[in-house]
């Protein structure tokens, strides 16, 4: 079986040479393609130690060309898919919001990146009793922090907060949490705190 696969690969490589294709993709064995990952993913995952993996943010999906574009740090990767591509954590590719973090297991087909599996990053589960909805927040905002006895905290980066935030919210970027907690958080440990960010869909 393995011998046959190698022969096929050699044949593909020979064809590629004859056709003047870039050889790199076709000549590499499927199980040893380099992984590329956005820096933000590497904070929690060791994707750099695996192979055949792209992890980044979804930029666009073209159903006309069966291709998608993934942003990995400042680079763009174009990856093709078809009906055999396994999709996880999303009903369809078109339903994945742009900028969502996704992870793709890929291989090379005809010199092109082909997605074997596309997985959307799962949201972090929050128990029901700890969830607030838009109505609850709107009611508090209408009262104001003093009457409503709450602190509303925006976990997004500072620039996003400056561009637009929920009225009465305080900027507390997640990555500066430890530095800011003493000055921003209330002294009263019983006081209601509500955190929000870009949300999920």
């Amino acid at each position: 079986m393995k011998g046959k696969a190698l022969t096929v690969l050699a044949l593909v490589a020979a064809l590629a040479l004859a056709g003047g294709w870039p050889l790199i993709g076709a000549a590499l064995a499927d199980d040893k393609l380099p992984s590329k990952s956005d820096q933000s993913c590497l904070k929690c995952h060791e994707y750099d130690k695996s192979s055949n993996l792209f992890a980044g943010k979804l930029v666009d999906v073209s159903s006309k060309a069966n291709a998608l574009q993934l942003q990995i740090d400042k680079e763009m990767e174009v990856i093709y898919f078809d009906d055999s591509t396994v999709l996880k954590n999303a009903p369809s590719l078109k339903k994945i919001p742009k900028q969502e973090s996704i992870r793709i297991i890929y291989l090379k087909k005809n010199g092109k990146n082909f997605a074997k599996e596309i997985e959307v990053k799962k949201g972090i589960a929050v128990p029901k009793e700890k969830l607030a909805d838009a109505d609850e927040v709107a009611k508090l905002v209408a009262l104001g922090p003093e009457k409503g006895k709450y602190v509303l905290l925006d976990s997004r980066p500072g620039e996003a907060y400056e561009q637009g935030h929920i009225p009465t919210a305080i900027s507390m970027p997640f990555f500066a949490f430890d530095k800011l907690q003493e000055t921003v958080l209330p002294k009263d440990k019983e006081m209601l705190q509500i955190y929000y960010c870009i949300g999920f869909s």
């Binding site: 060309a65 838009a134 637009g164 935030h165 907690q181 705190q193 509500i194 955190y195 870009i198």
Partner: protein
């Protein structure tokens, strides 16, 4: 994704009443609530050289005494008179201000502009008063009367007008590349365009010249952008246009290029 993690950190610090508005910003806007912007937000756009729409909602005679630089004044006939001047790009940032911040007039304008489909509308926190108090630059005389919003082009993106001109008058140093599927090309193609479906592009790189700029289009710009990134990686001098290119099915050879 960050808010649940922040909430966990707060609980670890001993806070007993911590909640997460997990649906976050998109759900807040969708429910019809207002969003506020900060002065720093405007300054960030200026620093980045990004275009934005700034509307002064106060009466013209008051705006004349002092307004934010680049602000467009509200016409006497009201906000609706400005609608036609808004860009097609619905993610264009729109910032509204009155004398004091989120007043009823500001909220009303916010709701109207949001109902037109604009997704990045904000009311300036503290309004003109806060801007003046902070000692920021104030422009005197009548406010602007026209919205001039120019979407910043993405890396490799070509201006639509420049693309139209290239289609009209081919240049010796450029090639137009159409990356739509064969079935779409059958309905019509731009004059002098080379056609290679995006799907085949990586196998047909040898067909493209390295000494010319390759200007890519498709039917919307999505595939063109992907083709641009593939060609750039392969070392080509390429650009693309984010435009709708539509071909008339009835009249052969007729086409429309719009943003």
């Amino acid at each position: 994704m960050l808010s649940p993690l922040a909430a966990r950190k707060a609980e670890k610090l001993g806070y007993k009443n911590v909640k997460v508005f997990h649906a976050g910003m998109p759900a807040w806007k969708k429910a019809g609530n207002i969003v506020v912007s900060n002065m720093a937000g405007i300054e960030n756009y200026d620093k980045l050289g990004a275009s934005y729409i700034l509307l002064d909602l106060r009466p013209g005679n008051i705006a004349e005494k002092g307004h934010l630089p680049k602000a467009v004044g509200l016409p006497a006939s009201g906000l609706d008179a400005l609608k036609d001047q808004f860009p097609k790009y619905l993610n264009a940032p729109v910032i509204l201000y009155t004398q004091h911040g989120d007043t009823e007039a500001a909220k009303e304008a916010y709701k109207k502009i949001s109902s037109w489909g604009y997704k990045q509308v904000g009311i300036l926190s503290g309004g003109f008063d806060a801007w003046e108090k902070a000692g920021k630059t104030i422009a005197k005389g009548p406010a602007e009367t026209k919205i001039t919003y120019v979407r910043k082009l993405l890396p490799g993106e070509m201006d639509i007008e420049a693309f139209k001109a290239l289609v009209q008058k081919p240049a010796a140093d450029s090639v137009i590349l159409d990356v739509r599927a064969v079935s779409e090309v059958a309905e019509g193609a731009l004059p002098n365009a080379k056609t290679i479906p995006l799907d085949d592009l990586e196998q047909k790189l040898a067909d493209l010249p390295k000494d010319k700029k390759i200007v890519i289009h498709c039917s919307t710009g999505a595939r063109a952008e992907m083709a641009y990134n593939l060609l750039k990686k392969a070392g080509f001098n390429a650009g693309y246009v984010k435009a709708n290119v539509d071909f008339d099915k009835e009249k052969k050879g007729e086409y429309k290029i719009t943003d």
